[in-house]
């Protein structure tokens, strides 16, 4: 063993790396494992996807199905569809692998979403991690692209309908839209080229980019070190946790198999994308309940919410605002997410490094902005299932659409206001607890006849987590070196005011001491009543 290790080390000098990485410290908190879930799902996707490439034919050549699924026997379809059906019915384990691949893809993107929310609401994107947030965002977009290209490969009715919607969106872009569509499909939709083109993207270009970005993401994670929650002994300059070797690695390795196991369990019990029901793609039929996979749902919902007849004809050309406005909303939403760390950094003007996480309540405006964006996303996402909400809750689809339109426009503002107030309220409560301790529910009558409620004082550990957070104040408008106040500076100051004018300051040491003296006598006398 030692000799073998020595043999390898003398030829690769790998021991330095192992020592460095093996002694890397990772803090322990459940929400720190969400990115791992995404990573492990991706590994499952790679493994199952490789199996599928052995049997899938990315060709739109017309064939007649003669496989074993009776209700499709003798039906004309593309070779892609036929090979997907063969994987499902005639190749041993094929259906399980297909379902593992698809369920893992859904889990992959869901885990990315939850991971992003965790990073956002705890402020883990702040310096020095802004770039890694952006890389993570690119990973998210690549994952969406992987998902969509994969969804389109079987060439069944559902995937063809999805492609048709994308084709329509692309064609709705003025001037260049039709050119792009023809370029993409190699002529008029659907053509005979799209499946093989998407296949190249799906199994070569996009995975290569994904893996490269993933490498950069993990490398930056190691370089920047992991963030941690505030706590006694945890500072901005250290990381408290367990080393990678052996505890963390063992846990993580086990966790990989748990994630794998959950995916296989789901895939073996629950049908996903039953292409045999959808049948081969044919431009004429569209099934009721045609939806994209969940992660593209918000884009589908945006289209559904656009009011009909939002079109004008300018000089013989139709301009489709019912497509352009949703595209602008989607790009705006994604753009805000992509650049949020830079936006917030500019607003606060904070150039310090932050390795201690914020509790969401301690950054009320950020949390409220996050809640507003989530509400916008959720309204668009929910709108994609407007028809199913109508049938399952016995509503009129028109009413559902109108409610979702209202939620899309007004919902984010309501969510912002409620969230901000809740955060400020929680901060006030924290402040109260930090100063006076927990309410004990024990009422004591003093000799003078006065009644007081005894508060249980906090331990130092408890208080630490309540009082250690950053406070920002609105920026003052300051003239630059030439003595001019630029308009940009005014905007920045007003946004900064919007962010930080309502705030609860963290409790200072002096305040704690003052409160301690103030209530000291009362507590002494109170405890005398034991």
């Amino acid at each position: 063993m030692g000799a073998a290790a020595n043999y390898i080390d003398e030829r690769t000098s790998i021991s330095g790396l192992v020592k460095e990485v093996g002694r890397k410290i990772f803090p322990d908190h459940w929400s720190f494992m969400l990115g791992e879930v995404a990573l492990y799902s991706f590994v499952v996707i790679l493994l199952s996807g490789t199996f599928l490439t052995f049997f899938f034919q990315p060709s739109m050549a017309e064939v007649t199905y003669q496989g074993s699924y009776v209700p499709l026997k003798g039906i004309d379809m593309s070779a892609a569809m036929q090979s997907t059906l063969n994987i499902s019915f005639d190749i041993r384990g094929g259906l399980l692998f297909r379902q593992i691949h698809h369920w893992a893809a859904l889990l992959f993107i869901a885990a990315i979403g939850l991971h992003m929310l965790r990073i956002y609401f705890t402020g883990a994107f702040r310096k020095p991690r802004e770039l890694n947030w952006f890389i993570g965002f690119v990973l998210f977009i690549l994952a969406l692209a992987e998902g969509f290209t994969g969804y389109s490969l079987p060439d069944d009715l559902l995937s063809g309908n999805g492609l048709r919607i994308i084709d329509g969106m692309v064609k709705g872009i003025p001037v260049i839209g039709v050119w792009i569509s023809y370029l993409l499909f190699g002529g008029e939709f659907p053509g005979t080229a799209i499946v093989s083109r998407l296949y190249s993207l799906h199994i070569m270009l996009l995975p290569a980019l994904l893996i490269a970005m993933l490498g950069a993401h993990l490398l930056l994670l190691v370089i920047n070190k992991h963030t941690q929650w505030a706590g006694p002994g945890k500072t901005n300059d250290n990381v408290v946790g367990v080393p990678v070797m052996p505890v963390f690695a063992a846990k993580a390795g086990g966790f990989f198999f748990i994630v794998f196991g959950v995916i296989v369990l789901i895939a073996s019990l629950f049908t996903i994308n039953p292409i045999w029901n959808y049948g081969p793609y044919d431009p004429s039929p569209v099934s009721a309940g045609t939806q994209p996979d969940w992660y593209i749902g918000f884009a589908d919902g945006a289209l559904r919410l656009a009011p009909p007849h939002w079109e004008v004809v300018w000089g013989g050309y139709t301009v489709s605002f019912n497509i352009l406005v949703p595209i602008v909303v989607l790009v705006g939403l994604l753009g805000t997410v992509a650049f949020y760390p830079f936006i917030e950094g500019w607003i606060t003007g904070d150039k310090r490094e932050h390795h201690i996480l914020d509790r969401p309540r301690n950054a009320p405006t950020r949390t409220a902005v996050g809640a507003a964006l989530m509400t916008l996303y959720a309204a668009l996402w929910g709108a994609a299932s407007s028809d199913l909400m109508a049938t399952h809750f016995k509503l009129s689809i028109d009413q559902v659409i109108h409610v979702m339109q209202f939620l899309t426009v007004i919902g984010p503002f309501i969510a912002f206001w409620i969230t901000k107030r809740v955060c400020l309220g929680l901060q006030k409560k924290d402040r109260e607890i930090a100063l006076h301790g927990h309410e004990s529910g024990r009422i004591v009558r003093l000799p003078g006849g006065e009644y007081i409620e005894v508060h249980t004082p906090l331990t130092e550990y408890e208080r630490w987590t309540l009082v250690s957070f950053n406070e920002y104040e609105p920026l003052m408008v300051r003239p630059n070196e030439r003595g001019v106040v630029t308009p940009l500076e005014r905007i920045r100051a007003s946004i900064s005011g919007f962010f930080f004018e309502d705030r609860i300051s963290p409790v200072t040491k002096a305040e704690i001491e003052a409160s301690h003296h103030e209530s000291h006598g009362a507590i002494e006398e109170g405890s005398g009543g034991h």
Binding site: D28, L72, I258, F270, S284, V286, W294, L388, A390
Partner: protein, 277 residues
């Protein structure tokens, strides 16, 4: 036998509506007597004259028609009019044929429970023979589509052809797996799971509620039989991939992975890191 039952049931409904009781207790008995006499007479008449209804596959009798007329007057005429020629509350039924009656009454959609975007299914109110009687009565008023021959209802046609026809003609409202779907203003295409072959056939033939009519020139009887074959195939053969999650497509799949997939995994992460808390 049949007429006896009918008379007593119509007597019951009459009793309900006129509770003030200006009728003697003998009324029910006399009604039965009248019913028996008329049906008996009608039967005699029927045997001597050829039936006027050449449209229906099953033979109907004048007694059935009379019985249906009574049931119609007691249960349907409020909206459809005493002569079935329609009113502001309901359409004319002249020429809708026996297939329409068998579908609407046989699936419990008629008599209508309440005004709404469309007639909802509810427990069937009439026995099969009562439904047949009303169907015979409506068919006697004017030529219309009649109930299908049983050879089309055996679900032994070409499932692949039926599936293709279903995708092209039906799936846009009923969903590719027949799980149903939404229409405008609270209307909907119902799920086709558990619907009898006969009712599926009749629905295509008569176009109930918001459904278009698929007549025999549009979709031939054998093709209708193929569609039924496909739907029955789906009913008989559960999804090869496991539980179907309602056959609703990506929405239920997405909900499932978020709630149960990610839910389970988050539970595991909490468990794995529980010690340090």
């Amino acid at each position: 036998m049949i007429s006896h039952k009918t008379a007593s049931s119509s007597g019951r409904s009459a009793k309900k509506s006129k509770r003030s009781g200006r009728r003697s207790p003998l009324a029910t008995v006399s009604l039965i007597v009248v019913g028996l006499l008329t049906t008996g007479g009608a039967y005699a008449l029927f045997t001597s004259t050829a039936t006027a209804d050449t449209n229906t596959a099953s033979s109907t009798s004048q007694s059935q028609v009379n019985e249906g007329k009574k049931l119609f007057a007691a249960n349907c005429a409020t909206c459809h009019g005493m002569a079935a020629s329609g009113s502001s509350a309901g359409p004319s039924l002249i020429g809708v044929g026996s297939a329409a009656v068998d579908f609407q009454v046989g699936t419990g959609r008629m008599p209508l429970a309440a005004d709404g975007p469309q007639a909802e299914q509810k427990p069937v109110q009439f026995t099969n023979s009562q439904t047949q009687a009303m169907a015979a009565y409506i068919a006697s008023l004017g030529t219309g589509p009649s109930e299908p021959a049983s050879k089309y209802l055996k679900a032994d046609g070409n499932a692949a052809k039926g599936a293709e026809l279903f995708r092209i003609n039906c799936a846009m409202c009923h969903n590719v797996a027949g799980a149903g779907g939404a229409l405008t203003e609270g209307k909907f295409a119902p799920s086709l799971k558990g619907v009898s072959s006969k009712h599926i056939y009749e629905a295509m033939l008569t176009g109930p509620q918001n459904m278009p009519v698929f007549n025999d020139l549009n979709i031939k009887p054998q093709e209708k039989a193929d569609i039924i074959t496909y739907l029955k195939y789906l009913e008989k053969n559960p999804s090869p991939g496991g539980f179907q999650l309602g056959d609703l497509g990506p929405v239920s799949e997405g909900l499932f992975i978020w709630i149960f997939g990610l839910g389970a995994i988050v539970a595991v992460t909490v468990w794995l890191t529980a010690r340090s808390n």
